[in-house]
Amino acid sequence: MNGPDTGETDAFLQSVMQRALKPMPNETQAMAARLAEAIHDAERLEAEHNLWQCFTGVMVRTATVVRQSVSLSPAVWNADILGLRS
């Protein structure tokens, strides 16, 4: 495939591939719609993940405060938080 044949072969392959592989407008639309849906799902999952991270963050901070309360003043923890009276 050298010389003049190369140009002819290139033109043939170009023509065949354009015809075979170029997406039709309806295919492009369908894929765009499908991708939009997937992006919407990904955004929702990300929002849920962020919310969960926020919730667990609050829980960790609360637990830290509770632990500090316990270590600083067990009497207060027992009496005021757990409602135990000696």
């Binding site: 495939m1 190369t6 002819e8 072969t9 290139d10 033109a11 043939f12 392959l13 170009q14 023509s15 065949v16 591939m17 354009q18 015809r19 075979a20 592989l21 170029k22 997406p23 295919e27 492009t28 894929m31 765009a32 499908r34 991708l35 997937a38 992006i39 990904a42």
Partner: protein, 169 residues
Amino acid sequence: MTAERTADTFDDFFQRHLPLVRAVALARTADSARADDLTQETFLRAWRHFAHLQTCGLSAQRAWLLRALRHVAVDAHRRAEPAALEETADAAIAKNDPNALLRLDVARALAELDETDREIALLRYFVEMNSREIGEMLGMPEGTVRRRLAVCRERLACRLAAWSEDTGK
């Protein structure tokens, strides 16, 4: 900002690159449904990295998408069994698409090439890039692209010769 830099919306990005990504996916799988899955997953990854991709030139965006597609295809291959080619041929005929058989034959011919040759052939014949541009994009010398392209040309022309009358060449 370079002259090639593109600052556009994700929809523009999708419309611009869809033909190449889908063609490479189709050439890799020889199966429209699987090619659509790979295409979607590739663009979903691109959406997650769009802030970075917006700052890149066209060639760098293409290179990023081809790399992402390779990773997506490897991940998908680990999860699924390859479909029988006869099944995909039947599906193509059942779609009543006049180009379905041509598409399948071209995809199969490309699927027989190794990964780099397949990308070189698509960038040359589908995207119509020259050897220098392909070499820059894939990070290989222009001479190497030319040599590999010569082998691809011969193999593809031989494999697709039956369609030459159909295209009037």
